[in-house]
């Protein structure tokens, strides 16, 4: 029944499909053995092929060069400022350049972590809800249109969100802050009794709105890739729709959810302009999210850049280097999660 194995007389392995050069060389050796065959020597090795290969390879390598260059130039510009610093860069809260440079990222890094964490807490449940709504609840045509709207939310520039947050959202958030303090003031983070305004809460809400479309887009893709077999099997066992989602869709999409949350976190950590507009730009480590205050590494760079001297710019670059390192770690981890599941790679 089985066809005989390939004759061992053929020394040539089958040429890999898609590699033209391998095919040509095979022809040549074949004609070398058979004198009567048509001479194929006129197919010369084109210079074009080699140039093209080098050009594309060079472009690919350029990406690696850029990443290394970012690290290198940030480090070389940061070192002189760090040497001029009279305080500990990691534990100092203030950002003073006069009369002598004494700056540190303690308050900035704390503010960055608090705003990003709060934004994730607010955005992730809503984003996953939207993603499920688009992939499994809404009618297909409605889902396409609404998904389009969510994508538009992602396209709005961050400066516009910042402007909107500062000019419009600040009013409602002041009301919300007063309400939270009145009824939940016994919780330490709601302890501030005013004045309310450019607070960590406002910054986190704006940030949450901005990362919402990112988390939604990736998790929607992942949810809609759930094999139909798994879903129908759950239904066949008598599951309700929610039970089907809990037993078939969510477990299948878990790596995608984790990755999308981490990508959202990466975006939240690096968001600059919107937060520069809606945070109070103070330099204190405070877990009070209602009162005026808050600052992040990125927002501080945008706010302080205009007035900065040489040492000041170096100091800002040093803080940017820290931000680069943090986001690099977060993004690499997110990508590593995505790469473990090949089928998710094409989604984002």
């Amino acid at each position: 029944m089985n066809p005989p194995t390939l004759p061992e007389a053929d020394p040539q392995p089958p040429a890999p499909i898609g590699d033209a050069r391998a095919g040509v060389t095979q022809h040549r050796s074949a004609t070398g053995r058979e004198p009567g065959a048509v001479d194929l020597k006129r197919v010369r090795r084109l210079g074009g092929e080699r140039i093209f290969r080098w050009l594309t390879t060079g472009s690919g390598i350029a990406v690696l060069v850029i990443i290394v260059a970012i690290g290198y130039f940030l480090i070389t510009k940061a070192i002189p400022a760090l040497q001029a610093n009279t305080s500990n860069f990691l534990t100092e809260k203030n950002w003073d350049l006069e009369p002598r440079p004494a700056f540190g990222i303690a308050a900035l890094a704390t503010g960055t972590l608090i705003t990003s964490t709060l934004a994730l807490i607010m955005a992730v449940p809503v984003a996953l809800g939207i993603a499920l709504c688009l992939s499994h609840y809404a009618h297909r045509r409605v889902a396409t249109a609404l998904g389009f709207l969510i994508d538009l939310l992602a396209a709005v520039p961050s400066i516009v969100f910042g402007l909107w947050g500062r000019e419009y959202l600040v009013g409602p958030v002041q009301g919300l802050s007063a309400w939270l303090h009145k009824y939940l003031g016994w919780i330490p983070i709601f302890g501030s009794d005013g004045p309310y305004g450019k607070s960590l809460l406002l910054g986190s809400i704006v940030l949450a709105i901005m990362i919402l479309p990112i988390i939604t887009a990736l998790s929607r893709e992942v949810f809609s890739q759930t094999p139909t077999m798994n879903q129908e099997a759950a239904y066949a066992l008598g599951a309700t729709k929610w039970e089907m989602i809990r037993t078939a869709v969510l477990p299948y999409g878990r790596p995608g959810i984790i990755a999308s949350v981490m990508l959202g976190l990466g975006r939240a950590l690096g968001e600059t302009i919107a937060l520069a507009l809606v945070l109070g730009a103070t330099f204190s480590i405070s877990f009070d999210i209602l009162g005026i205050g808050g600052n992040t590494i990125a927002a501080n760079i945008a706010n302080r850049f205009g007035e900065a001297t040489d040492v000041g710019r170096g100091a800002l670059i040093a803080s940017g280097l820290v931000l680069f390192a943090i986001t690099l770690v977060v993004n690499t981890a997110a990508r590593a999660v995505i790469y473990r599941r090949r089928e998710f790679r094409s989604t984002l």
Partner: protein, 356 residues
């Protein structure tokens, strides 16, 4: 699904809430919430709180009703559904609010004067002034960034899809993905540290040279991974049969890529490029660091400070003039109009592409 019409079917089905019951519960909870919160002043009152309390009351009511009639599992299913739908409504609110605020505040200054004048000589007491210089800057910077990035990005994508083998290709692919997540401000700092402080002083008598070109470089760093990724996806969608047909005719690989693969993937690549352009046009942070900003018209992106729409909004948002907010909103409306138009056209193009 076929419906069972046998006389025994009714006994097989579990009892269900009548179709009108969710509506009745909704009306009931809204009424209770109105009486308790809006009129009664529970928890401080107010219209927003009324709606929030009504929504919570609806879920509790639905849960109880369904639990009594249909059982625990069905009740949980109903609550999950209503939570998912309310998450969606919640997300549409900020979008609508942003659009409404933009349009209502932005149209005040949206006149011919605004588009044809710069801010040169405009003091805090002048109501006029416009975005002409900022539009020039944005268009030039984004155009230069596109010219740099598109060939580089497409070539890198071709390497990954057509030539890349082994660890180098895997590393490049991985780091392109990682690069997508680099914060825009870091890209700006990189160009500041590299181009503005190290390269330009050589040509510029030792002075750091802020310019529109530096902004374009920073935008390129941000656009490169986006364009490469989308282009890579598109190239992968081109059927192998097309490549094999070309090889069978004796066409060398590079010509196959240029003449067969790229044209087939072109609509998708254009979409990816337009989305990247839209994103770059809205970027503020990197441009703010390296373009310098300016109040007057500068047509030369290679020397002297240049403005862009996003820095203009940033400047006006921080300016101490009673006329500045109106200018900021009008510029924001212009920018959003530009970015959304690009995005929508790109998405429509993607829908027409044959490869999907």
């Amino acid at each position: 699904m076929t419906t069972l019409s046998s006389p025994f079917a009714g006994s097989l089905r579990r009892r269900r809430l009548p179709k009108w019951s969710p509506w009745a519960i909704a009306a009931g909870s809204l009424g209770v919430s109105f009486l308790a919160v809006y009129a009664g002043g529970l928890l401080g009152g107010g219209p927003v709180l009324t709606i929030v309390v009504a929504a919570l009351a609806y879920m509790v009511g639905l849960n109880i009703a369904a639990r009594v009639v249909e059982g625990k599992r069905a009740a949980r299913n109903r609550v999950a559904s209503s939570l998912i739908y309310s998450a969606f409504t919640l997300a549409l609110l900020p979008l609508l609010s942003v659009v409404w605020t933009l349009v209502s505040k932005g149209v005040d200054r949206l006149d011919g004067d605004f588009f044809t004048h710069s801010m040169n000589g405009i003091t805090a007491f002048d109501a006029n002034g416009g975005i002409y210089h900022a539009i020039i800057g944005t268009v030039q910077q984004v155009a230069i960034a596109t010219l740099i990035t598109v060939p580089l990005g497409i070539a890198a994508a071709i390497y990954i899809v057509e030539y890349g083998r082994g660890k180098l290709a895997a590393a490049i692919r991985f780091f392109i993905d990682v690069m997508t997540g680099i914060p825009s401000i870091v890209a700006g700092l990189f160009i500041l540290a590299f181009w503005v402080f190290v390269v330009t002083p050589v040509f510029n008598d030792g002075r750091a040279g802020y310019s529109g070109f530096a902004a374009a470089l920073a935008l390129s760093v941000l656009m490169l991974p986006t364009i490469t990724r989308s282009c890579e996806e598109m190239l992968r969608l081109v059927p192998d049969a097309l490549r094999e047909g070309s090889y069978a005719l004796g066409v060398p690989k590079w010509k196959t890529v240029m003449r067969i693969v790229l044209p087939t993937a072109l609509p998708g690549i254009v979409t990816g490029v337009m989305l990247a352009v839209a994103r770059a046009a809205g970027e503020t942070a990197p441009v703010l660091l390296v373009a310098g900003g300016s109040n007057s018209i500068n047509f030369n992106p290679f020397s002297d400070n240049q403005q862009s729409l996003s820095i203009y909004i940033w400047d006006q948002a921080g300016a101490a003039s009673q006329y500045a907010p109106a200018r900021a909103w009008a510029a924001a409306l212009t920018l959003v109009g530009l970015v959304l138009t690009l995005t929508i056209v790109a998405k429509l193009l993607a829908r027409r592409s044959k490869l999907r």
